[in-house]
Symmetry: C2
Subunit: 262 residues, 2 copies
């Protein structure tokens, strides 16, 4: 694992850091694959959109430097994970901020082995843990992620690879992935991300490439699906084998989608 | 400003810190007043309750050491602010955690001047910014505070000292304080904290000391109040002079309450 701040090797941040104190910042998780950055334009689009909503200004040359480093740091082929955190400049005590400047671009490089289609299909369940709801922040990959942290305990206790958050009877997302289903008409569906959840890069890519319906979905919709799969930028696409005991084995549509991104 | 980690002078935390990465921790803000810690039992009660909900184990000797330091660090009389952060031990990449241990107690001491009753009464308004809703986390002073950060921009733009979050037509709290109202029957009322907001130490003290009704309240309830005030552990009690243009001048009940805690 290698860590940098603003392109310089660095392993610590100040105690008064607003990312630590309030979660005042956001992050992006990218796959580095054989010295390329797949879906880079999607990541950049989300970075810029998030910065606007959180009233942050990104130093573009420093961002570019970080991305270039990703292409040269590991000379070998293979998969690596690049996590970039964008953190607001520290000011005095309290929630209020004096600066729109994101003065710390923190990058963490680590190894990443198996993508979704290289793993055994996932075992999933429905979470009792509640997803955090805030329509101002929905879709953003901000630093306030306690709901997913708490959900991880429920995953462990149940032996699940992933769990689905439900809010007011609607499935929002997994705790670490977005979710898609294929219905009995071979239609590809994913939950709307309007009040909670992260609008993932792989999710957006599939929406742009395939006929995907974004709409509210229920647990019943997932039970009646012919197949279900999980997505994020690292895992790509990961088939769900079982949900709450129900088995899914139809891989026709799934294999078609996977072959388009592999 | 002086900063410590586990009682040792320290100004940085690791980049991989789970507080920074996910907001996986919580904090407590205490007033240090003339070398005493008012309401300490309330703070300790909230620390222990929060640790249980977040599945964290606090090192009690280290916590005690931090609190003792607070009483000796500033030999002069006066008001100081002690912010203590409790952060989960770092493990590998991802939301999941391998440890219940809170291995970093981060303490930040800073000066604090005017308490609520020493300040001009507050000017307040209703926020368009949404409060983050999660019934698992409601009441906790956890590190996921982006809603209050975003609200601070709205306060600045409107020249307000405080703004009230509204969710589904109900007032939840201020962005930095709890809120109380005195109604026309001289009854003391504060919103329930069941789905969002922080259950403040001063709020709990008033509930224990006075006949306070905790119930859902609306903007209309605030407009019709004879007086409104803000509370937190640092400010104590701070009268609201105006809300959305409406003036409040009845200080009878308020002065009685203030004199009990001053």
């Amino acid at each position: 694992m290698k860590t940098f701040i603003n392109g310089k090797p660095e392993s610590t941040v100040p105690v008064l850091n607003r990312g630590l104190n309030y979660g005042d910042g956001f992050f992006e998780t990218l796959l580095v694959k054989d010295q390329t950055l797949p879906f880079l334009s999607y990541h950049l689009q989300r970075i810029r959109r998030t910065a606007i909503i959180l009233d942050l200004e990104i130093n573009e040359p420093e961002l570019n430097e970080t991305l270039e480093k990703a292409l040269t740091l590991y000379p070998d082929e293979g998969n690596f994970c690049l996590k970039i955190q964008f953190i607001r400049e520290t000011s005095g005590r309290g929630y209020g901020y004096q600066s729109r400047t994101c003065d710390q671009i923190v990058s963490v490089f680590s190894e990443y082995i198996n993508r979704g289609w290289q793993r055994p299909p996932a075992c999933a369940g429905f979470l009792k843990t509640h997803i955090t709801v805030n329509q101002d922040l929905a879709g953003l990959k901000h630093l306030n992620r306690l709901d997913s942290v708490i959900a991880s305990k429920e995953l462990n206790e149940n032996g699940w690879d992933e769990g689905f958050f439900i809010h007011n009877d609607y499935v929002i997302s997994g705790s670490k992935h977005n979710v898609f289903l294929v219905d009995s008409n071979n239609c590809l569906i994913t939950p709307s991300i309007t009040i909670a959840g992260i609008a993932g890069v792989m999710r957006q890519y599939l929406i742009d490439q395939f006929d995907v319906v974004e709409k509210p979905i229920t647990a019943q919709d997932l039970y009646q699906a012919t197949s279900i799969f999980l997505t994020n930028a690292l895992v790509g696409i990961w088939r769900v084998a079982s949900l709450d005991g129900q088995q899914y084995s139809d891989e026709t549509k799934l294999n078609q989608i996977i072959s388009s991104i592999r």
